[in-house]
Symmetry: C2
Subunit: 264 residues, 2 copies
C-alpha cells in the first residue's frame, strides 16, 4: 500500500490575512502524514509594482510577465511570502523547505511559446516537468516542501507559473509513489450552486458536471482554472481531489469530507 501524501494549495486571500494564515499553518503543521504546500501570490506583488510605477502589461486582454514584473513576483513570491511561510512552519516544528522550481531543478517548465502573443516570462508545465525523484528524497528526509509559483526553464530564466497548475502536476507526478490527496483551499466552502450562498455547496463535481455547470454559466471566473486543474489531477491517477474552504483543513482531514469532491 502506498503511503499517504497531502498536496495542499493555498491562495492569495489567505496569505494577505496574517491571523487566518497563522491558523491555517497551525492546522497544516498538525497533519501527521507526508505533505507539500503550494502557495499563490496575494496583493503584495500588485502593491509593490504600483509603488515602483511598474504597470501591468496586457496584450489582447492577456496578462504579460515582462522582466520588471518577473523581478517583482520572484522577490515577493519566492522571497517574502515563501520565507515567511517557511519560518512560521518551522516555529510550529514543521520542517519546511522553501522551493522554487529552479531549486534542485524540482520543476522544469517551458517558456510559453504562443503564435500571436508574447507572454514574456511565463512557464508552462505538465506531469513530466516534476523531478519526482528529488521530491521523494526530500519527503523521505521528512522535509515539507513549500512551493512558490516560480519555476525555471534550465536555460537560466525564472518563469512565472500558475500555482493551481503546479499543485496539480506535483500531485499527478507523485501519485506513482504516494497515495495522493490534493486539496485546493480557497475562500469559498467549495463549488457553490449559488455563489452568494455558502450553504449551496455541490458535494461532487465530475467532468460531465463541470461541462454542465460551465454551460449554465454557474462557474464564477476564479473557479474555472482551479476546476480544470482539479479535473486534470483526478484523470491522471491522483487518488482524491477536493476544493475546500481554508478554515476547514483540520475538519476535512479529521472527518474526511468538507467542500467539493472532484470525481471522474
Amino acid at each position: 500500500m502506498k503511503e499517504k501524501l497531502f498536496v495542499v494549495k493555498i491562495g492569495g486571500a489567505l496569505i494577505d490575512d496574517e491571523v487566518m494564515l497563522n491558523q491555517f499553518l497551525e492546522e497544516f503543521s498538525n497533519i501527521k502524514e507526508k505533505k507539500i504546500l503550494i502557495h499563490g501570490g496575494g496583493k503584495l506583488a500588485t502593491i509593490l509594482a504600483a509603488k515602483l510605477g511598474i504597470t501591468q502589461q496586457l496584450v489582447n486582454g492577456r496578462r504579460i510577465t515582462d522582466k520588471s514584473t518577473l523581478d517583482i513576483v520572484t522577490m515577493v513570491y519566492a522571497g517574502n511570502i515563501n520565507k515567511n511561510i517557511v519560518s512560521k512552519l518551522q516555529y510550529r516544528n514543521c520542517n519546511a523547505l522553501g522551493l522554487s522550481g529552479a531549486d534542485a531543478n524540482v520543476i522544469q517548465a517551458k517558456k510559453r511559446n504562443h503564435s500571436e502573443i508574447n507572454f514574456g516570462f511565463v512557464g508552462d508545465i505538465d506531469e513530466e516537468s516534476v523531478n519526482k525523484k528529488m521530491l521523494s528524497y526530500f519527503l523521505y528526509l521528512d522535509l515539507v516542501p513549500v512551493f512558490s509559483a516560480i519555476t525555471h526553464d534550465k536555460k537560466g530564466n525564472l518563469l512565472n507559473t500558475n500555482a493551481d497548475t503546479i499543485a496539480s502536476v506535483i500531485a499527478q507526478s507523485l501519485s506513482e509513489i504516494y497515495d495522493v490527496e490534493l486539496l485546493y483551499c480557497f475562500d469559498k466552502e467549495g463549488v457553490l450552486e449559488d455563489v452568494d450562498d455558502p450553504d449551496s455547496v455541490i458535494k461532487s463535481v465530475s467532468q460531465e458536471d463541470f461541462s454542465t455547470l460551465k454551460e449554465a454559466g454557474k462557474l464564477h471566473k476564479g473557479i474555472l482554472p482551479k476546476l480544470e486543474n482539479a479535473l486534470g489531477a483526478i484523470k491522471n491517477n491522483v487518488n482524491k481531489v477536493f476544493l475546500i474552504k481554508e478554515t476547514q483543513l483540520k475538519n476535512h482531514i479529521e472527518n474526511h469530507h468538507a467542500g467539493t469532491e472532484i470525481c471522474l
Copy 2:
C-alpha cells in the same frame, strides 16, 4: 581521509555585475568537488529601499534592521538574488538548491540581544547554529546549497545575518565531516599591503599579522570583519582559508594558491 568541500563566499560587487557574475558562476560550476555558495547583497536592496522611501535606521552609528528593511532584504536576497543565481547555476548543470537559514532549519540564529541598542531583526550565529546533518544530506544528494544571508530564530522571525559569518560557521561546522577549504571571493587580489596597489598582496596572514596590520591602520574597513571571520574559521578546524579575487577562482582551484592564505 575526509572528502573535499569548497565553501565559497561572494559579495555584492560581483552580484551587481552580470557579466562578471556569469563568468564566476561558470568557474564555480566547474569545481568537481562538493561545494557550497554563500552570497551577500549588492546594491539592489538599497535601490529598492530608496524607491520605496524606506530610510536606513541608524542608532549610535549602527545599522538597524527594522521590519520594513527586513522585508526588503528578504525579498531581494532570498528572492531575487538567490533564485537568479540558482537558475544560472542550473543552466550550467550545477544542481543548486537555494536556501535561507529557515529552509529545513539549516541555520538557526539568535535574535541579537544588546543591552543598549535594539538592532531589530538581526541574527547572530556560531558553529552550533548550523544543521550539519541536513546539510550533509543535501551534499550527499549531490546538491549544491546556495545560501542567502537570511536566517531565522525558529520562533517565526526571519533575521538579517552577516554573509561572511555564515560562510565561516558553515565551514567550521562541516569540518567535522569534510576537508573544508573556505574561499572569500571579493574585488581585491587579496589582503593588500597598499590598498591602491594590486601587486602588494600579502601572501599569508596569521592572527599575529592581523593584529600588527590592524594596529598599523593598514586594514581598510571592509576587510576587517572578513579577516575576523576567516581567522575564526582557521582557528576552528577549517583546513584552508583564502581571500581571493573573484576572477581568480579557477586559477586558485587549479594552481592551489591565489590571493592571501589565512594561517594559525
